[in-house]
Amino acid sequence: MAALQFARSQDRKAPPPAAETASTPGGVAVTLDGITHRFGTTTAVNDVTLEIKAGEMVALLGPSGCGKTTLLRILAGFQSQTLGRVVIGDRVVDSLPPAGRGVGIVFQNYALFPHMTVAQNVAYGLEARGTAREAVRARVEGMLDLVKLGAMRDRFPKQLSGGQQQRVALARALAIQPSILLLDEPFAALDKNLRLDMQIEIKQLQRRFGITTIMVTHDQEEALSMADRIAVLSRGRLEQFGTPEEVYDRPASLFVNSFVGSANQLKGRILRNAGGTADVALDAGAVLSAGTFDSGLAEGAPAVLCVRPENLRLAAEPAPQQIPGTVELALPLGPVVVYEVRTADGGQVKVTEPRVAGVPLREAGTPVRLHPVSPQACRVFAALA
């Protein structure tokens, strides 16, 4: 979350577009309309509809095999979908090859041409489009300045670090002034420190160009920190499409709740369900009321209450809405302590508490009572059969 705030605060200070980028392409809206893709008998993408606003940065988030990469390849035109329409701007692009769609793409391994210098890589798309030599040179210089690689123009890709290679890939993709930018797992190959720097840099560039950007990632932190909206995918289906706050605080499904952030899943039965709030009698021995989107959950139905570790506190004194348990393990992680607590029904619950100076850790075996800080931030879902 620190990354999130840092990236945001940097954005506000983003400088106005420089002279050489005066021809800012700006963003266009992108619509994926009922996209389905099958490989043989397996369905990789199942009826996904996304409406992406102009200039927006959207992350396609999901575990491997959820169809996010297939979706990106369909958008780029490397693959044609079995069903559905792709609209970029006001054009239906289904019959267009990749070159005709105006997409810039940065591959996971960057796919820089190893036999060309940095400048030749950046110039490639412009030359392929028949741009005049002088214009190509000027634009290449402008792009290299933009990604701060002017001094590296005559190096070959293998002589560059991972972050520099990514900047070249970005410059090459943006040089052709695409109307949308696609990023395929852009930070997976970078080490952790560099990743944050590049995330900030890409976010700044994206804001400056105002270019609609679609990023594929399996890293939820990356999606939360980078994207304006996140599309969570699982097994080819769209689980939720919303802002990072919505996805994190009001997950639409059990999958989203457990895939984005971590969540304790407490089993129980519905006592009452009305007006978006459900009371659940937990097997662990307490009644908690929490928010739900599922108005169809009837009284008595088996349910799962999800509560995030940071939304739980340990208390010594009994009070209403508490779950009794025993501390099994305490992990002091610097600013926070993670407790592993065993509840009465045998389940395990993780609790993240801020570390308070001078207060000793609770030892294993200590009986405690758990209670949520904000019951409305807990979510109730139907139990999976």
Binding site: F78, A99, N109, A111, F113, Y124, A128
Partner: protein
């Protein structure tokens, strides 16, 4: 030259070495074998070529003077080296699409293609060459077909011509070209081709700007093997070329076996070897220049 070629074909990624400093002992048996059966005979050849007369009584450079003094010898050497160029060029021209097709095919098609490619290696060179005699002969398959279709009125002379020989050599040496090409083309990152097309390049531009330059190491390795093998292909040259066409291997054979002029045979062997090595080194230089950026 074989060692350097193998290096080009196989990937150069060596695993970490557990017994650093002692691996060279593994090469000892082969080194000893090469010393006894390759280096020694070669040195003997050098010595024999330095005899001035065919009876081998006194030393002198007379054999070399004799070779270079006669335009006929120049012609044999030239036509042999040029034969190699023609065969290599044609093998590349036919082999490249085949290798490319291989990388684009499904697994079943790949097995079929690889079988077709290596089949010539599984049959004896004599059998293969006689098959070409049957195909190209006066009463052969090609002539029968041409006559039946009415494309020719009298049988064409295909056998014992240089063009027939080139055709046979191209088929015989095809695996040596296709296998290194397949190796480099399968190692080509498919994302590079996607990147190229997304940047606006058509298929031909992608081929000439990305695929072809990046497959250069495979091209050089294939050309090296094909060239060296086709200029020294004694059996195919003799059987398909017949008596009318004279190339260096046949020339050396005549001097040794028929005329018993060992010093002259040794001298032309040396000249031939140095010439082929020269061409091979030239190709190798090209290969080294292109290899630098491929294995990043």
């Amino acid at each position: 030259m074989v060692a350097s070629t193998a290096d080009t074909v196989a990937s150069a990624h060596a695993p970490p070495k557990p017994h650093a400093g002692l691996e060279w002992t593994l090469a000892l048996p082969l080194t000893a074998f090469f010393a006894v059966f390759f280096v020694t005979p070669l040195l003997l050849l050098v010595v024999v070529s330095l005899f001035a007369d065919s009876e081998m009584t006194r030393f002198g450079l007379d054999q070399y003077a004799k070779f270079f003094g006669d335009a006929f010898n120049w012609k044999v050497l030239g036509s042999t080296l040029f034969l190699g160029v023609k065969v290599t060029a044609l093998t590349l021209l036919f082999g490249y699409p085949l290798a490319w097709l291989y990388t684009r095919s499904g697994p079943r098609m790949q097995s079929a293609l690889i079988l077709v490619v290596i089949l010539p290696l599984l049959t004896s060179v004599v059998v293969r060459t006689f098959a070409w005699v049957v195909i190209l002969g006066r009463d052969g398959i090609v002539n029968n077909l041409l006559l039946t279709l009415g494309l020719a009125e009298t049988p064409l002379r295909l056998l014992y011509t240089e063009n027939g020989l080139v055709a046979a050599l191209v088929q015989v040496q095809m695996p040596l070209m296709v296998l290194p090409l397949i190796t480099t083309l399968t190692r080509l990152d498919p994302n590079l081709l996607d990147a190229s097309s997304a940047l606006g390049a058509g298929p031909w531009r992608t081929f000439f700007k990305v695929t072809l330059p990046l497959s250069l190491p495979g091209i050089v390795a294939g050309c090296l093997l094909t060239y060296a093998a086709s200029v020294t292909a004694f059996i195919t040259q003799s059987l398909v070329g017949g008596g009318q066409l004279l190339f260096m291997p046949q020339y050396i054979y005549q001097q040794t076996i028929t005329l018993h002029n060992w010093p002259f045979a040794a001298a032309i062997s040396m000249v031939f070897m140095v010439s082929v090595l020269g061409v091979v080194m030239l190709l190798n230089l090209l290969g080294r220049a292109s290899k630098g950026y491929i294995h990043a």
